[in-house]
Symmetry: C2
Subunit: 343 residues, 2 copies
């Protein structure tokens, strides 16, 4: 090791990833796409490819067992990987699940975790084909790898968006972030007064978005039914603005989105206001929604126009157009990618 | 969660894995083999299959940065997965690498880790195609998933051993375990007197076996050259005796091995004696050798007979023959599977 010490916080998570990826060279022709998208793409025969994605979840960083039941943690660990497979427009087939546990966990606790993992495997139609079980000195660690398949002509990278494409998102945004704020607030109330019952009933939608997110495989199947291949796609895990930056960078295009088109659930909106947060900031920068962000060619608009859960939030421009939000009042403001600051 | 609390230590690691695996059902025809071997097997076309394996490594459990340089930790994290691919008689092609880091680590430290990961990827000819980078509240966590390919007629499960097959191991055994004892001893000396220089020069072979193990891909390539398909194969990560139990259980056979045939390096032997340990116990129960244990049909013996690094340690018997070690004095003793007690 050299004597120089650069803090990871100086370059940030994305900086670190870029930095590490520079050292990686691809050797196999079958490796069609390595690092840099939601999943890697591996050639398996003439018509089909395999996509591979993996996520590492740590207690205290990605989930808090004070308010997330183990069954939901297990479900979410699978769902976030399925979401990456969906983001390639692929069909998930197999997963591996590795867990590290401290002796704080009993066999019944592990069963609760696996009940969630197996429920998700059932829900998304994937086989659990392997994994590793080991001990941990601190909290629970879960690592999931998902494999999926897609024909080459349906594969959706981040890099295919082109000028005049329509920018779409599924579902609504900001809910998981608002849910997290509520759960954290109630946790603090509980910690300072354990006799208090947390008030969660009126926040079920947003806390549900945080604790038990859903991967939008339904959208992947429907796009196929409608015979639409997105020109680019990714899932929204770090926040809409951050993901638009990824699409813009990978596709070498500009993006313009419209505030009045951004989908937000009423409970998300009301709770944001209650918490003194700007709802649109939550929609743009709240993470973990696991909705799909994608672009379509204008010719495909008619096919999806009436879909109740796909929202057309803007359009793709020339790269020099930049990354813009048009507010309700018609003002054009530059988007900022916040993403999550893990470090 | 039910009110019953069963400690994981009551059922042990293998008990926990069996317990969890009972709840898993396979849905896809393409999933040829799920949990229960060194890697999962997925059908990709008529002649070839994909194998998938994953390992989760935690600081303080699987490696100790007091004596294992980060570069070696990175190399080992890849090598142990490649070893599982080798154990299926498959050729590794792609890996994903996820890491969780606390702010104790600098960018330079991460570079050192990745230097090892990339060196291993180069050495074994695999592409690094994805991963996840996140923060950790405690130590370093590394999760690697490896994908490999093999034609169906060369695939080697744990379950194919049959009566009269010859039991083979590559390399020599017990070294990694002895290396760990030396490293732990020198760590204690150092902790009680930081001015002392650790005495490691004379233990380089055994400490090397522990810190920077080698996956035996060379044996996989040579078996192909010699046109030998093992009837069963696995890698020795938990100790020879434990792995023989796996082969015996999966193949429904008995095994008899001979003490005088067990391969042990001179430095391993001498150091075991120096440490007051029985060398044969180290060979049988020491883990992390990452050598290959396999069985061959008698007809293939001539092809491998002269191989300098393959040792013929016993033979496969009827299941009622049990699992036996014949000592140098001719006494027959029952093998005990110790494995690693993580919990």
């Amino acid at each position: 090791m050299s004597e120089k010490r650069t803090e990871i916080s100086e370059i940030g998570e994305f900086g670190l990833i870029d930095h590490l990826n520079q050292s990686i060279k691809i050797k196999h022709q079958s490796t069609i796409k390595g690092i840099g998208d939601d999943a890697a793409v591996i050639d398996i025969e003439n018509e089909r490819v395999l996509v591979v994605t993996t996520d590492l979840l740590l207690e205290g960083v990605h989930f808090d067992l004070t308010y997330a039941p183990l069954t939901h943690v297990g479900f979410k660990a699978v769902a976030v990987n399925i979401s990456d497979v969906a983001a390639m427009n692929a069909i998930p087939k197999q997963i591996t699940v590795s867990i590290a546990l401290s002796n704080r966990f009993s066999v019944e606790a592990v069963d609760a975790l696996y009940a969630g993992i197996n429920a998700a495997a059932e829900h998304y139609g994937v086989d659990v084909v392997g994994g590793d079980t080991t001990s941990s000195r601190s909290g629970l660690v879960i690592s999931v790898t998902a494999l999926g398949e897609v024909s080459k002509d349906r594969l959706a990278y981040r890099s295919g968006a082109k000028e005049n494409d329509i920018i779409c998102v599924s579902g609504d945004l900001g809910g998981a972030f608002i849910g997290l704020q509520i759960l954290e607030r109630e946790k603090q109330v509980y910690l300072s007064n354990p006799g208090m019952q947390p008030e969660l009933d009126k926040y079920q939608i947003v806390t549900g978005r945080q604790i038990r997110p859903e991967a939008r495989m339904d959208i992947v199947y429907e796009l196929k039914d409608f015979n639409v291949v997105p020109t680019s796609m990714m899932d929204i895990s770090d926040g809409l603005a951050s993901e638009l930056f990824h699409i813009s960078k990978a596709s070498k295009v500009g993006v313009t989105i419209y505030e009045d088109k951004l989908p937000i659930d009423k409970q998300t909106f009301d709770t944001a206001v209650e918490l003194g947060l700007d709802p649109i900031t939550c929609v743009l920068n709240g993470g973990e929604d696991y909705e799909l962000l994608f672009t379509i060619d204008q010719k495909d608009f008619k096919k999806l126009e009436k879909h109740p859960d796909i929202h057309f939030i803007g359009h793709v421009t020339k790269p020099e157009g930049g990354k813009n939000l048009v507010t309700k009042s018609g003002t054009v403001v530059q988007l900022k990618a916040q993403g999550w600051q893990h470090f």
